[in-house]
Symmetry: C2
Subunit: 245 residues, 2 copies
């Protein structure tokens, strides 16, 4: 047994592999992300990652305790990427909308890792920074603390839940994903009006709508509702007052 993993900070010996690669936590995470992006979620296995790195698969265990630890490292990277370059506009509607879509998009870019990350609380720097930002949008936007907190919770959970949901669809093995999509034509398209009148009546609309994620519309609905809950609900929309943060 023994502790095979040496913490990244105290690494000193950097021995190249037989094929000449010099491994590092960073290189492994990046290679994994490239592998998934290029060949799909099911291509991410220890053996394949080893091959892509030009190293023996078991070498990875010198850097990560197990594949779970590797996926978490990848996930943390995603949280960071979602915030990269974001700046507050000062209008809470805009800021929430952009932040929600950013989270959703960034997770979708790496479905496999997203699935693992979306329901964990890591407490790592990227995550706390994101929490701080969203709370800031709401409090600076004029929501009183108790409401801001409830809204924060619903907003974040919804973004993460949809991200995971859509990521799961994207991470499905090719065959299973196609099967799911075919169900719409093969099953729902052929339900008779006698037994399923509502489906039969709206089928073309349904089939078209279900192709995309439901998140953008769900997000708009949430923003609409927040408009009515906001303390100055009577005031107009566009009013970028002084900002903060």
């Amino acid at each position: 047994m023994s502790a095979r993993v040496v913490p990244e900070g105290s690494r000193r010996r950097r021995r190249p592999t037989k094929q000449g690669a010099v491994l590092s936590e960073r290189l492994i995470v990046d290679t994994a992300l490239r592998l998934v992006a290029r060949h799909g979620a099911e291509a991410l296995s220890v053996r394949r990652l080893g091959a892509a790195l030009g190293a023996d698969p078991s070498a990875l265990y010198r850097y990560f305790r197990n594949t779970d630890a590797l996926l978490l490292a990848i996930a943390d990277e995603l949280v960071g990427r979602a915030q990269e370059g974001w700046e507050a506009s000062g209008d809470w509607r805009t800021d929430l909308r952009v932040m929600g879509l950013r989270i959703h998009r960034s997770y979708l870019a790496q479905p496999q890792a997203a699935l693992l990350a979306a329901h964990r609380t890591t407490g790592r720097p990227h995550e706390t920074r994101a929490v701080e930002k969203i709370l800031g949008i709401l409090r600076d936007g004029g929501f009183p603390d108790p409401l801001a907190v409830r809204v924060y919770h619903a907003f974040v959970d919804q973004a993460l839940a949809f991200a995971a949901q859509d990521a799961a669809a994207a991470a499905l093995p090719r065959a299973a994903g196609e099967a799911d999509r075919e169900v719409w034509g093969k099953v729902y398209g052929r339900l008779p009006a006698e037994t399923h009148p509502h489906i039969a009546a709206t089928f073309p609309l349904l089939a078209a709508d279900m192709r995309d994620s439901g998140y953008p519309f769900a997000l708009e609905l949430m923003l609409t509702a927040l408009e009515t809950l906001h303390p100055d609900a009577t005031a107009g929309p566009e009013r970028a007052h002084g900002k903060k943060s």
Copy 2:
């Protein structure tokens, strides 16, 4: 190769296994659910399920083309359980609310299985019936078809996404789950106001709110927004100042 699976309707020979079990689609799904409930999602493998049934693992392939088909059958069972005994009240707000909470609850009752199932489109009987019901609530409630379809999509995805999200938290290995919950006290509770002013200012509220699911509030927000979008919105609740989309 060849078609090993005989459709459930036309089964005739029921030969007991060596250990005396008489297999059926129903028995297999029920056993799988029991297995998952008892030993966690990772205990669900063809081999273990075979053992639990008292049959050779490969016997399952006489009933399901592959493990994916089995998963879909499990998923549909959960959908069915969510609808059991439901009756329309005639008020679309009430009906949507009840339906959403039912789905959420039914999935949470089997967190491990829910995780495997919440992301799939099965096209099976229970699922189509649920789709028909929800579409019916919206169309009978007065939403015009194009809007009804969009709302249906957002509503269902929201319910399933939150269900999966909360199921995931409930299904986490005990150690990992506790670790995640501790993060709130150990990390978020100790962030200094200088670097994370918003978190520091609202921490007690945050820690309390994050203990429960965000779904009920998110669902209310969606219903509030739908009130605004509904054709006879003018009568609506107080401060819905003619927002349109």
